[in-house]
Structure formats: structure tokens, C-alpha cells
Amino acid sequence: MRALLIRDLRLAFRSGGGFGLGLAFFLLVAVLVPLGVGPQGSTLALIAPGILWVGALLACLLSLDRIFALDFEDGSLDLLTTSPIPLEGMVAVKALAHWLVTGLPLTVCAPVLGVLLNLPASGYVWLVLSLGLGTPALSVIGAFGAALTVGVKRGGLLLSLLVLPLYVPTLIFGAEVVKRGALGMEVATPLMLLAGITLGASAMLPFASAAAIRITLR
């Protein structure tokens, strides 16, 4: 399994694409929103938590279709399925690799964009913490969507349509943590619910994703 993780990371770094692209997209969102909304600091501070979370979510979405589609096209998915590691484990490792190259950098870079959006000082800790806890769920749920659409040609748009509704709870709790944190309110409840979604999704969804891949390869 470690070999698979190393391979996926290596491929992500070498072929560029997903890794830098997601971050660049995140940056673009943070630059475009003030241009659209206007430069008033108070307005930006109000919407910063939501914009940062929505931006991170869309940046995550960009590279989802690469999780399985590339392996499906070149035949690796067939060979991985017949290899000694269980398919469920393979899905989990691939979701982890996706998180390491998208979710983790987004989490690390988010405070910088928080400055651009005038996020109140008390919100930064919660921004990083909520993204750190929530983006793994985005990768795991996204891997499920990617598994459903792996056999569909040009399935990118379909993938977004399937995955975005599934992202709703994660988005709500994640943005809620930052919003409350920025206002200095108590954040424990949404934070725990967010962690619950991540843990629950990581535990259950790989089985659904593996089932979807088996059905597609059949």
C-alpha cells in the first residue's frame, strides 16, 4: 500500500496538473471575490470564512476525476484489482494521496488567503483546523464520486453534479467553525460534527467506492 501511495504522489508531482492547479484556483477565487464584491474590509471579513471554504471545496473538485480515470484508461486499474492489496485499501490510499496533494496544501495556504480576505485574527486557528479536519472528507467523498463515474467518458461534469450535493454537510460545518471562530464564539459542536463526518466517510465510503469500481470493471 505504501508503494501505491508513493507512486501516486510521484505521478502527481511529475505530471504537474492537479497539484499546482488546485492551489492556483484557490488563489484565483480569493482574488476574484474582492474584485467582485468590493474592497470594504467589513464586508470581506463577513464573507471570508464561507469564501475560503467554498474555494477550497471547488479546488478539491478540480482534480477528482484524475483519481481513477487515468488508471482506468491505461489499464492499471485492472492490474491493481488483481494485485494482492484489497480494492477498498487501494481506494483509501488513493483518496489519501489526493488529500496530500490537494487538501493539505490548501490547508497550509489558506491563512495567506485569509489575509487577502480580511479574516479577523481570531479566525485563523479555526480556519486551518477546520480545513485540516474537513478536507480529508472532501477527498474521500470525491473518490466515491470518481469511482462512480470512472467508466463514463468525459465524466467530469457528471462527477461535479454527483459530488457537490454530497459535500453539503462538510461545507456547512466547516464554514460554521470558521465563522464562529472569527466571531469569538464557541466552536466545539460544529468542529466535532465536522470530524465526525470525516471519520464516518473515511470508514464507510471506501467500501462503496470499491463496489462501484468492481461494477464498472465487470
Partner: protein, 207 residues
């Protein structure tokens, strides 16, 4: 442990393609599958590899003993020859990358990216993957596509070596691999007579 296939029926796209396929393969032997295009050779091999369920019949072999070689080689263009093989070796828990490269005459290309290989070299790399899996039963679908005569001979030698060590192979191919001792199974007689009935799970019959 032998590979035993009995009364196997396989389907593709909702249509039964082959039925009543039975054979037994023992250690050190190869089986060549022949038959015209579209008969269902690939479907049969995918079923053997466990990628799709059989409609009926049974396949018995030792667990995790099968290495599948498809039309597509599953190579990553961004990785070098050595990294490609190293990945599959690590996945299967073996350490025979250098040997495999030597056998398939890839040692000189070890640091080259797979994207820069010729079609024949890619195929050789795809076949070298079989060696690093360390699995006894090879299930191969047209392994010699885009190989030149010398490479076919090279692969024939590798295959013979594998059989000599007690391995097995089921190969769908049209050309002579230089294995006169291998049994040949012509699949034409197993062509399904009633393609719709079994594959649709009785759905169609109910009307």
C-alpha cells in the same frame, strides 16, 4: 495447485459469448487459446482473472496465484522503466526488478521514462511486469502485439523459463510462440448457442 475450469459460461455486454468451457492446467504447462476475433477470448481471460463474474461454471486455483496481462500495459509515462517495475514489485512484495529487466532486455533503458519508449519496448516492459509479480499462473491476452521477431523469441524464452520453474500460462494468441509442447484449445466449438437467455438472467424469457 492446478488451474481447473469446469463448464464455464461467460458474458459480455449482456450477451453470453462462450459456454461449456472446461480445461485443466497443471504445473509447468501452457495452454494456447485460439479463435476468431469477437469470439470472447478477452472476456474468458478477464473472467479467469476475476475481473468479472462468470455466468455459470467454476474456476478453481490457489488464492492470489494469478497475474493478468491485458491489451493495455498499465504503464505510467511519467515514471521510468525501473520505477514502473519497482512499483509492481513492491505491491506484490517481491524484489526481482533487476532480473526482470535483464530477461526482457530492458536493463539499458532502466532510467528512461516509459512515455519515451517505443511501442515494442513498452510491451516488453508490460511483460516484464509478469516476472516481478512472482505469481505462478500467467493469463495473457495477445502478449506479442507490436513485438518484433527477436522480442517474440525473447518472450518465448522467458515463458519457457517460467514453465520450467513450475509456472503455468493461459495465452490467447495467433502467432507461434515457439512452444510446440503447449496444448492448444480452439474456442470456436464453445460459442454460445443462445446468447440472450443466460446473460440477461432470465429477464428476457419472462415475456
Amino acid at each position: 495447485m492446478d488451474l481447473v475450469v469446469s463448464d464455464l459460461c461467460v458474458a459480455r455486454g449482456g450477451l453470453t459469448v462462450l459456454e461449456g468451457v472446461s480445461f485443466r492446467l497443471t504445473s509447468g504447462h501452457a495452454l494456447i487459446l485460439r479463435g476468431p476475433n469477437g469470439l470472447g477470448k478477452t472476456t474468458l481471460l478477464r473472467t479467469l482473472a476475476g475481473l468479472q463474474p462468470a455466468v455459470s461454471g467454476s474456476i478453481s486455483m490457489a488464492a492470489e496465484s494469478l497475474a493478468y496481462g491485458a491489451h493495455a500495459d498499465g504503464l505510467k509515462g511519467a515514471l521510468t522503466v525501473e520505477e514502473n517495475l519497482g512499483f509492481w514489485a513492491a505491491l506484490h512484495g517481491t524484489a526481482t526488478v533487476a532480473d526482470a529487466m535483464k530477461h526482457m532486455n530492458l536493463s539499458d533503458l532502466r532510467a528512461r521514462r516509459a512515455a519515451n519508449l517505443s511501442a515494442g519496448q513498452k510491451r516488453r516492459l508490460g511483460l516484464a511486469r509478469l516476472l516481478v509479480t512472482g505469481r505462478p499462473i500467467w493469463v495473457l491476452d495477445e502478449p506479442t502485439v507490436s513485438l518484433d521477431t527477436a522480442s517474440v523469441a525473447l518472450f518465448g524464452a522467458v515463458l519457457r523459463g517460467h514453465l520450467g520453474q513450475g509456472g503455468m500460462a493461459v495465452i490467447a494468441t495467433h502467432i507461434d510462440l515457439g512452444l510446440p509442447e503447449a496444448a492448444v484449445l480452439d474456442l470456436t466449438p464453445f460459442k454460445a448457442q443462445h446468447p440472450l437467455s443466460a446473460a440477461t438472467g432470465g429477464f428476457d424469457e419472462a415475456f
